[in-house]
Symmetry: C2
Amino acid sequence: MSVAQRSRSGGRAGRRAIRTAPDHTMLPGLRRTLPLCEPMDEEQIRKLDDASMAILEEVGIVFRDPIALADWKRAGAKVEGERVYLDRGLVRELISSIPSSFTYHARNPAKNVPLGGDRSIFVPMTGAPFLRDLDNERRNPTLADLAMFHKLSHMLPALHSSAHHIVEPYDHPISHRHLRITYSSIKHSDKTFMGMTTSPKNAEDVMEMCAILFGEDYLETHPVTTGNCNGNSPLVWDETMLGAMRAFSKRNQPVLCSPFVLGGANTPASVVPAVAQLNAEALSALAYTQVIRKGAPAIYGHYLSTVSMKSGAPMAGTPEISLMNFMIGQMARFYDVPWRTSGSLGGAKTFDAQAGYESAATLSAVIHSGANYIWHAAGWNEAGMHCSVAKFIVDAEQCAMAYRMAEGPRWDDFDEGLAAIRDVGPGGHYLGHPHTQENFQRAFFMPETFDNNSIEQWKAEGEVEITERALGIARKLLSEYQEPALDPAKNEALLDYVARREREIPAADALNQDY
Amino acid sequence: MSVAQRSRSGGRAGRRAIRTAPDHTMLPGLRRTLPLCEPMDEEQIRKLDDASMAILEEVGIVFRDPIALADWKRAGAKVEGERVYLDRGLVRELISSIPSSFTYHARNPAKNVPLGGDRSIFVPMTGAPFLRDLDNERRNPTLADLAMFHKLSHMLPALHSSAHHIVEPYDHPISHRHLRITYSSIKHSDKTFMGMTTSPKNAEDVMEMCAILFGEDYLETHPVTTGNCNGNSPLVWDETMLGAMRAFSKRNQPVLCSPFVLGGANTPASVVPAVAQLNAEALSALAYTQVIRKGAPAIYGHYLSTVSMKSGAPMAGTPEISLMNFMIGQMARFYDVPWRTSGSLGGAKTFDAQAGYESAATLSAVIHSGANYIWHAAGWNEAGMHCSVAKFIVDAEQCAMAYRMAEGPRWDDFDEGLAAIRDVGPGGHYLGHPHTQENFQRAFFMPETFDNNSIEQWKAEGEVEITERALGIARKLLSEYQEPALDPAKNEALLDYVARREREIPAADALNQDY
């Protein structure tokens, strides 16, 4: 067959194959062009900044950690007991060395993703003590369940990371889990991943495993993973988180500095003052990363919720969470640091309409707020108590839809589209027009997890609701999963490290305990 | 009991009563302060305007209606057959007399709502040939079902209108329905309502009934209802809609000029050119309202969807619909006319997570796009084929949440909130602080339709999912419904009018036919 023939006959068949074969290629790190929702003017930003700085100067913030207190003294802060008073000049000077953007390097360089400025990534949820599994049963997860989520993360195009403990592997001792989790993240996906911060020592183990995977020197100049450090709002950072932060920051690896906001319980019952507190908390931790190592990447973070008056539980998808996201985005940009939020939160017990409303409302606000590191972007339900396989699949598609929206309108075929209007004319239809046939798929997102058939068709197909439909997609994905190649020497070294550390760390009495 | 005693003891009890009694008071027409999402710069707006004007000038637009054609000739347009070529100068001059804002007058003046500029209202869905009822059964609706929806519209605070045929009353002949529908809208709610435009004569009947309710002269100077006129995209307006438009516009009552967009089927398969076409269509109808009557209020409208490649059905919640909303908002503001969109669309067959995602994604985009007349804001599912009672309740609460978000952050207790931070200090908690007790309810929206209890509590309460929960709320609302007083003379005159017209209009063979 000649080249011409091949390209002619094979061309159409090739295109058809491309159209029908499932495409698991990761979307590049999102570059947003959609303008952001910025409810504060310059003066209000300065007012909020001033309020947060005054909190740090006059109320102070507690670092429950002797090393951090000593570090702060050396850095010139006033320290009284565990309370650190931070002068705004010192805070501003410290945070000025945080890179405003950087690139995450994955073990597959095709999966590298830029972060900061107009660049954003979607990262799955983590930390669920339960899952709703492939049969929609709610139960404690195992390491195999975690591997399943890592495989799905690897395959879903809009997810840019395999994260870490998406679900807690209850079949392994707590003290060994961080090793198994990190290995699973690395082994089952070649995207970037998160690093456990459950203790300073665990964080050191993660750094060692990263050094094995990427090389010690490479880490010095390339962000490859992310640690999360939660604050104890109001205005407390604890030893565990600060120790883990040091493990990451001293190796030049990014941490999320995340005040943990239960609006009304550990913040004032008012949106703007709550942001003032959260902002003070985030700034103090961001500043501390630069005390640990000047120039280390760090991310302005937070977990945001408002609490239910009935149950005290964190709620999702409420208007105040959206407003706080918009404002925090403005503050992070004011300080010129990348920032993190949570993408698709739900408080429902099942994957019902509540979960849909909550997740879409949250994700939409996140996109309009311009968040860079969009964590908990897939699977989160029941206020984080379980990760749902079905929701994971749908959320990941929602991220792809949000991605498309955030890219903004495309003008590249404007003239061709206008020409089609002239061709078709009044009362005509477009489905047969060449411009339509050329552009339809590119032009309009077709959600795979949504059913848009007629009710008759839907009934004929067995009245499948979205949970079942999404679980079917998950099963199909897993049946098609291909493990990404990992250098056998590195794989062996990682396994050796895990085995050695499991021998060193006592596992006794730790099995099936929660933390 | 002295006044002092009453106010002291009764004061606290009174406040408690206010807190626990269900509050059905309508929220005032929304005043938005949240900045809008405007993806086009000045040049792009002008480019789109130019493209739409060129379509009207060079492609022309079909008015399938002899009266409109004659009107256009008189107005100076070039008319060839049914095709009207509109010069941009003529279009601009005509639309310049459309009021940029006005107030809807309800029969209860406390329910008047401003529209246009930064003022928006939420209006329930209409036109569903099926409902999912109080038992979640899908069936054809009756007039009693319609009355139920009008009662719920009356009671749900964020809904600003009782609309018209929320569901189609199949137990009445088609030819009489518009009379019964209009009477039901008026009788069961004292909010503003919509007027049927199913034929020019039906629209005249609505106008007559409005004249009975408000007085003939009052209509001349007060918008009291809204007619919807759909276009037949691409680029066609038909006789039915144009005749109904004349009935409304000549009485100075507002119409929605609504191109009906099935993106990719009756528009180019590309977002920006699709908006260029839609914009041309809307402009031509807006201009025609001013040919009918200079200065008559009119609303830039549209129904927006993209179509499924699998079924051809309209989809909801897709990124392109959001982008089109953002752009249309900019165009409407460029022309300085109020505009309409659709608020809470869903394509799911049941009230499942799909419906939740779709509705929340749509509503969010609508808020960020700054739409004024937010129609189909409650109940819409199955691509408009059914109105769900459960979804109606949840959507109405979502509107209340969107309302709160659109109001933007409140700064009025900023100093008190900051003082609370100082009082509570590091490691404290806020629940007992006076500022919290004073502000909690006002500060944070507590969705009634969402369950935020623990799984244990949820199980103990019978594992109730959102559909059942919402239907329970609907039943409770209906049990508390109190019909708003209607002047008995006006009521009798309306009933007389309905009875007379039902005698005049032949009902034969029309029962249970759809249109």
